[in-house]
Symmetry: C2
Subunit: 414 residues, 2 copies
C-alpha cells in the first residue's frame, strides 16, 4: 500500500522552516505496512495545492494532507480538496458551536472567518482535535474507479501527532489488511559505521523479511530492526532472532538492546552499582554533564562536576598540580588522569571522569593537533586513560569526545 | 521566477532521514529572487523519479534535482532526466579518466559500475565536484516551447553545498535577470513572540518591499529582513531603514544586529570589558557552559565553572553555606545569589553566574512547582537575582533557563 504525505504551508518553502511531522507520520504508516512513496511540500496557494493533491490521487492509495486547516485566508486545504473531488463544503453545526464555546472559554474574540474551520467536505468524517481549533477530516472515496483514503490533519506538531495517533491510526488499522509489526532498536558506541556494516551485513542481509536500518551519528550507531507479518508472534520471533545474532557480533560495543541513550545506560549502571559520578571537563566544556543531566532523575547518581577551562581552575577544582600542567601541557594524558582522580577525591564520587583536548579550530600544534583528546576514568581500584584524534570542526570534535567519555564510563561499570 | 527542488533518495522516505540541503538551496535561490514553489521527495525508482521530474517541468522555470548521482544501481537521476527530455547519455572521456585517477589515489578498486558517474546528458554542462566522485550537470533547454533550467547536484551536504555555491550560483546569476539583494538579521532575547509581533508588525508591515520573517525558539527571537531590488544601494537603504526602526522598538531586548548568537555576544562584551565569567549551574547541568564553550576562542573570557547538582557540591565548589540550603531549600533566590557570589570568589572571575531550579518532570511541589528557576549574576558592585516560571518539558525548561541566564549576563555587561 503506497502513500503520499503533502505538507501545506508557505513557511516550509523558506530557508527557515522545515516539515518535521512527516518523519513521525512515516513511522506510524510503516507500522501498518504502508510505505511513503512521495513527500510533497506546497505553499498556501489554492491552485498549487489542488494540482499537487490531484497528482497524488493519481499515484498513491493514501494521501495525507498536513496543515492549511487554520482560520486564515491562507488556510485552503479544505477548499482545494473539496474542489478536486468535486464535492461541496458544508458548515457543521456542532463544530460551529464548539468553536464558539472554545472562544468563550479562552476569552478570545471570534471573527466570522474562524467559522471556516467548521467547514466539512461532503462525506468526510470529522476527526476531533483536542489540542487546537482545527479538526481533521477522513475521506474513504472512489476516485476514477480506484479506492482512495484521504486524511486531512492540522500542521502544528502538538496537534498533528496526537490527532494522528488517536483518530487516524485506529481507522487505518480497521481499513487496511491486518498486519503485525515487530520492532527492535540496538545501539552501539564508538564502532566505525563502515566496520559495523562490514561486521553485520553478512548476517542481517540473510534476513530478507526483517528490514534493518543503520543510523550513525558522532560515534553512536543505531540499528533499527523491523518485521511486518500477518502474525505478531512470528514477526517478533524473527526480529529477536536477528537481534540476538547482531548483539553477539557487536559484543561490548553494544550498549542498549532497546533504544535507550548512552547517558541513560550510564545512569542505569550507576544506579545498579549504587555508584556516583563526577566529571571534570575541559574541551567538552560541560557537554558531558549536560547530556547526563538531560535525563530525568539523573541527580540520584550524578553529583556534578567542574568545567575547568582555564588551567587555574584545573588546579582549583580538581587539584591538578600546576607543575604537572607546566610539565606536560594542559592537553596531556597526565592531566586527564589528574582531572579524573582529582574530581573524584574532591566530590567523593565513586567514579571520576576527566577530559582535556583541543577542540579547535585554533590552538593546534605540530605535536598536538586539533582533535587530540585525552579522556581518563578513575575509581577506587585504578585510573585508565585514552588518547584519541578526532577529525572535523569544533562541534564534531566535542561531540565525539563526549560520546567516547560516556562510553568509557559505561565500560568501567560493566 | 519559480523553482522546484527535488530530493532523490529512498532513505528520505524513512522515519530516520530528512532532506536538509533544501534549506540551504532555498536561501541561495531566494538571494537571486527565485522563489521555491514546490519541494518533492522521491525514492530511487526510475519511473517515480521520471514522473516527478516531468511534473516539475510543467509547473516551474528552474528544476533542481538533488541526489541519485552515485555509482550504484539505485542512482538513477541522470537516466530519468535524460529519458524525460528524450536525450541520450554519453560517457565522457575526461570524467572516466578522472574516476580512474581518483580510484588509484584513494587505493580503492573501481568496479565497472562506477563509470556510470561519467555519463553526461546530451547538451549538459558538467559541474565539477571537488568533494566527491559524482559531478553535477547543468541544462538550459527549451521544453514544450518554454525555457527551463535543469540542475543536477549530488546529495551529500558536503558535496551539494560547495558545488552549488561555486558552480551553480555563478551560472544562475549570469542567466537570471540581474537582482540586488540586501539582508539583515536582528536578534532579541526573552521577549515573548506575540509581544514582539504586536510591537513590530505595525512598522514592518508598512515596508511592503522588505520581506520580514520572525523566528522564535526558546526565548530567542530572530528577525530576518530581506529586500530584493534592481539596485543594491536602494535595497540596502530600505533594509537598514527598517532595521533601525525595529532596533529602536526592540530597545534593550535586542542583542545582535547582525545575526550573532547570544553566547557570541556575551563573549564579545566580556572581551570588550576585559572581564571574565564563571558559572555555577544546578538545573541547567552544564548547558550554559556548553553553549559558551561552543564558541571558538571562548577560553579567553570564560574561566569555566561548576555543575553543582548535589547540595554537597554547591557548598564544595561555590561555598554555599549548608545552613542556607537547609533554611531556604536548594531552589531559592538565596542559594542562586550564593552560587553566583561563591563561584565568582572561588574563580576570581569578574562576573559570577548562579542557576538553580526544578527542571522536572519530577521534584515539583505546591510552593515550588516544576519550571521554577532562580538565576543570579554577581560582580564587584552587586548581585542581582531573577525568579522565573518556565512551562513545558524538562528540555524546554533547561533551554529557557540557559537563555535567560546568558541574557542576564549580557545586560549586566551593557
Amino acid at each position: 500500500m503506497k502513500s503520499e504525505i503533502i505538507a501545506v504551508g508557505s513557511e516550509m518553502l523558506t530557508p527557515h522552516r522545515q516539515d518535521t511531522n512527516s518523519l513521525f507520520l512515516t513511522e506510524k504508516l510503516n507500522e501498518l505496512g504502508v510505505t511513503v512513496a512521495f513527500k510533497t511540500i506546497v505553499g498556501d496557494k489554492r491552485k498549487d495545492l489542488a494540482s499537487v493533491f490531484r497528482t497524488a490521487l493519481g499515484r498513491v492509495d493514501i494521501v495525507i494532507l498536513m496543515g492549511g486547516l487554520g482560520p486564515t485566508e491562507d488556510d485552503l486545504t479544505r477548499e482545494a480538496v473539496a474542489e478536486t473531488l468535486d464535492r461541496k463544503l458544508r458548515r457543521d453545526g456542532p463544530l460551529v458551536a464548539a468553536l464558539h464555546i472554545r472562544a468563550t472559554n479562552w476569552r478570545i474574540p471570534m471573527p466570522e472567518n474562524n467559522l471556516k474551520q467548521a467547514d466539512v467536505i461532503e462525506g468526510a468524517t470529522i476527526l476531533p482535535n483536542d489540542n487546537g481549533s482545527a479538526s481533521g477530516q477522513w475521506l474513504d472515496v472512489i476516485f476514477e474507479s480506484y479506492r482512495k483514503l484521504i486524511v486531512l490533519v492540522p500542521g502544528p506538531p502538538s496537534e498533528c501527532k496526537p490527532l494522528f495517533e488517536t483518530e487516524v491510526m485506529p481507522r487505518l488499522r480497521e481499513t487496511l489488511p491486518k498486519r503485525a509489526i515487530a520492532k527492535r532498536s540496538l545501539k552501539a558506541a564508538m564502532i566505525p559505521e563502515s566496520q559495523a556494516d562490514k561486521l553485520l551485513a553478512p548476517v542481517y542481509t540473510t534476513y530478507t523479511d526483517v528490514e534493518t536500518t543503520i543510523l550513525a551519528h558522532n560515534g553512536d550507531i543505531q540499528l533499527v530492526l523491523q518485521c511486518v507479518k500477518k502474525d505478531q508472534v512470528q514477526a517478533q520471533k524473527r526480529v529477536n532472532e536477528l537481534a540476538s545474532k547482531l548483539e553477539e557480533l557487536l559484543d561490548d560495543w553494544l550498549y542498549s538492546s532497546d533504544g535507550e541513550s548512552l547517558e541513560q545506560i550510564v545512569l542505569y549502571y550507576l544506579g545498579l552499582r549504587q555508584a556516583t559520578l563526577a566529571v571534570a571537563e575541559s574541551c567538552t566544556g560541560g557537554l558531558v554533564a549536560q547530556r547526563i543531566t538531560s535525563v530525568p532523575g539523573s541527580s540520584r547518581s550524578f553529583l556534578g562536576g567542574a568545567v575547568v577551562y582555564s588551567n587555574a581552575l584545573k588546579t582549583q577544582f580538581a587539584d591538578v598540580p600546576a607543575e604537572l600542567i607546566e610539565q606536560h601541557g594542559a592537553v596531556s594524558e597526565e592531566v586527564a588522569r589528574a582531572l579524573a582522580e582529582g574530581i573524584r577525591r574532591r566530590t567523593g564520587a565513586t567514579i571520576g571522569l576527566g577530559i582535556t583536548g583541543i577542540a579547535g579550530p585554533g590552538g593546534g600544534t605540530e605535536t598536538k593537533p586539533v582533535g587530540l583528546v585525552y579522556i581518563a576514568v578513575s575509581d577506587a581500584n585504578k585510573t585508565e586513560a585514552l588518547e584519541r584524534n578526532f577529525r572535523g570542526p569544533r562541534a564534531r570534535v566535542r561531540d565525539w569526545a563526549a560520546q567516547q567519555a560516556l562510553d568509557l564510563v559505561r565500560r568501567r561499570l560493566m
